[in-house]
């Protein structure tokens, strides 16, 4: 019951955060001088095409762009009736993309799921790599195993993500015949899910997952190693060794479980940077996630589209952080008791 109450509380704070974030994002997308339509109108007037001007003026009215900024925000979010009654983010109307001349929802469409998929794969990769390597590095501290993993980890942290992507793509294609670019073979695009499509997506996911996950995995590996080293020096470990326990069993049974907590808590710090990375990597590798969409939208000042993508990215991060917080309480009883006292 305790946990349910905490989960609800955590969900509430997430909603509040999201509200503040939406204001922030709205301010940011309105920072560039003018908006897409007023720029277009100026351009059309300069070239003397009055027919287009009328349409642009119509759209400006349609999307309430001539209203003061705070009203625009309220309408965008759906807190206030716009020209068409309540129809904003909350009501599921994400606005109109001027650049692509179609609703935002149609443009982002599938890419939302692919974004979630790519990031989920990266998170799984981080855990799958960091857990064994971190434990190994701690158990074999100050040997070549430790130094090699530390070196690889540092390189992973220091290499710009996008370069790693380019290099891995090139060599992955050359040596392992991995596909270049995209998230699935072109013939599967727009086709309903089937086994071959899933396989194609999985093969295409290998390089992006690796690239997005590397920096996070090395950071997490170092932290797990440090935590493990702290635990390994404690008397209970000595007792276990003295009892004659097999080292691997001993590690898994005692120190790992203690060192594991920060591991789950860390996902909150990790997610923002990983989602950042996934946006960048998607642009470089031409993945059909929302990364490239965001970049075009920002460059062309397509404010509703970029606003929605930014909101989605923020939402993804906030949900991930919330899940990790709730998981942590499930995992560690001490945190739950603290919550009860407070």
């Amino acid at each position: 019951m305790e946990i349910l109450r905490y989960a609800i509380y955590r969900f509430g704070t997430m909603l509040m955060t999201l509200l503040v974030v939406s204001v922030l994002i709205f301010i940011i997308i309105n920072l560039p001088p003018g908006d897409y339509l007023s720029n277009q109108i100026a351009e059309l007037q300069a070239t003397g095409q009055s027919a287009g001007v009328a349409k642009a003026e119509f759209l400006r009215k349609e999307y309430a762009l001539e209203k003061p900024l705070w009203q625009q925000y309220m309408i965008w979010m759906g807190f206030m009736p716009g020209p068409h009654g309540f129809s904003g983010m909350i009501q599921g109307n994400f606005g109109w993309s001027f650049e692509f001349d179609s609703p935002v929802a149609d443009i982002v469409g599938d890419s939302l799921w692919l974004t979630v998929l790519v990031n989920l794969a990266a998170v799984i990769f981080v855990y799958a790599v960091a857990l064994p390597l971190g434990v190994l590095a701690a158990a074999r501290a100050r040997t070549w195993v430790d130094y090699t993993t530390a070196f690889v980890g540092y390189l992973g942290l220091a290499t710009p993500n996008f370069l790693l992507a380019l290099i891995l793509f090139y060599y992955g294609h050359r040596w392992f015949d991995l596909p270049i670019g995209g998230l699935m073979a072109p013939e599967f695009e727009g086709v309903p899910m089937n086994w071959d499509k899933v396989k194609s997506i999985l093969v295409h996911l290998i390089v992006p997952t690796f690239v997005i996950g590397t920096a996070g995995a090395s950071a997490m590996m170092q932290r797990l190693r440090a935590n493990m080293l702290d635990e390994l020096g404690k008397p209970y470990v000595e007792t276990a060794i003295a009892k004659g326990m097999a080292p691997s069993r001993m590690l898994a049974k005692y120190p790992l479980r203690v060192a594991f907590n920060p591991f789950v808590a860390d996902i909150g710090n990790l997610l923002p940077s990983m989602i950042s990375g996934s946006v960048l990597v998607s642009v470089v590798l031409g993945l059909q996630t929302i990364g490239p969409t965001l970049l075009t939208a920002l460059k062309t000042q397509d404010m509703f589209l970029s606003g929605f993508v930014l909101m989605f990215v923020a939402l993804l991060t906030l949900i991930g952080t919330m899940i990790s917080d709730v998981l942590l309480v499930l995992l560690d009883p001490r945190i739950r008791y603290e919550g009860r006292d407070a």
């Binding site: 974030v21 997308i29 710009p160 993500n161 090139y170 920002l298 970029s306 930014l310 923020a314 952080t321």
Partner: protein
């Protein structure tokens, strides 16, 4: 020192029974803090080397024009995509000193690539401290001396040339000016904001603390890059490169301060209960004075270490932004702008030297990481 037959060493100085046993250690106990820190830092080999390397790198920034043989935007239309040229010492078994062979380019009409052939019969010696294109030393002294250049008939592209026939080595050294300083300006912004908000929150507590904490939480929970992208997309495209550079570094700093503010706040929360703070307040010191004179000096060294660790993120951030075309733009030269050329796979496959600017990036970022680790480990000299 006398070496006794039984293998012991004995000091020749007369024995003084009055001397305090603590005498030797006294020196250590009285040593100022920075000396102890320095002593400990010296043992951190990797950190020390990184620190020296960074010191040299930043020291050389004003002399970029002197080190580079050519100007950053000087074009050689005969040498597009020239591969790196090697500097040789021996010509046909004979020592001639550092020289290069002149290169001639020829278009291959089947592959549509430029092919370069060295003329191995004519070794042309490099000249040192020679005259070349003019540049401004440290920004204001006009000069045309270069560390080295090729003779008039040859070119010297140590790291090859790019798609417009510009020397990559020269561009890397000019690019360092922007790429390395972007982190410094960003960290200054982040420092000012972080210390201000962190100390105000920690010192005053209560409602202010709550507000600042929420802001920190929100900013930390957001993915940085999309926000960087959105903010830099808002920079008008008609601004001068210098203005864009400053704005970009400020943007990098604006989103970085929450981490710093959090650690400052935590320190303040524990320190403000100390007696000396109470004493200062009793004597009528203003809050500003207590914060600046009594509290902040306690952990400036700690702050410096954490700053060192967050500079790399900014350098990588600038690179990523420029790489995507939303950061610094073309006439400006930075490592990220240069990597913009290496954006597609074909160019990386055919002209791998276009990706060379990644090497200085990786090295500098690693150096900052090692230096930061070293500083952090050695900052508390009393701890073993």
């Amino acid at each position: 020192m006398t070496h006794l037959p039984d293998g012991r060493y004995v000091d020749d100085e007369p024995f003084d029974p009055q001397a305090s046993l603590l005498e030797l250690e006294r020196k250590d106990l009285d040593a100022p803090n920075w000396l102890l820190v320095w002593r400990k830092f010296k043992t951190h080999r990797l950190g020390l080397i990184s620190g020296i390397f960074l010191l040299i790198a930043y020291g050389l920034i004003p002399f970029a024009g002197f080190i580079a043989p050519y100007g950053p935007n000087q074009r050689f239309s005969e040498h597009l995509y020239s591969p790196p040229q090697s500097v040789k010492l021996f010509h046909e078994g004979e020592f001639v000193g550092p020289f290069v062979y002149p290169m001639t380019s020829e278009a291959n009409l089947e592959t549509f690539q430029w092919e370069f052939k060295p003329d191995t019969s004519r070794p042309l010696r490099l000249k040192f401290f020679c005259e070349g294109s003019t540049y401004n030393l440290a920004g204001f002294i006009e000069s045309n001396r270069h560390l080295f250049c090729a003779s008039e008939e040859a070119t010297i592209f140590i790291l090859g040339s790019d798609r417009l026939g510009r020397d990559i080595f020269s561009r890397v050294s000019y690019g360092a000016q922007l790429s390395l300083t972007v982190g410094l300006i960003g960290i200054t912004v982040s420092f000012v904001l972080g210390i201000f908000f962190g100390s105000v929150a920690g010192y005053f507590g209560g409602r202010v603390d709550w507000m600042v904490n929420r802001v920190i939480e929100i900013l930390r929970s957001l993915p940085e890059l999309p926000l960087w992208l959105a903010l830099s997309a808002a920079v008008p495209s008609n601004w001068s490169p210098v203005a864009v550079f400053f704005i970009i570094s400020i943007i990098l700093g604006i989103l970085d301060w929450p981490g710093l503010a959090r650690s400052v706040r935590a320190k303040f929360l524990s320190l403000r209960e100390e007696e000396y703070v109470r004493a200062a307040e009793m004597m009528g010191a203003t809050s500003g004075r207590v914060i600046r004179k009594h509290l902040l000096p306690n952990f400036t060294s700690h702050l410096i270490a954490s700053a060192t660790l967050s500079i790399p993120a900014m350098i990588l951030g600038e690179t990523a932004l420029s790489f995507l075309g939303l950061g610094l733009r073309a006439p400006a030269v930075s490592w990220g702008v240069m990597l913009n050329d290496a954006q597609n796979l074909t160019s990386v496959e055919i002209y791998p030297w276009l990706a060379i600017p990644m090497l200085p990036i990786v090295i500098v970022v690693l150096a900052f990481n090692f230096l930061g680790d070293g500083l952090r480990d050695s900052l508390d000299p009393y701890q073993q």
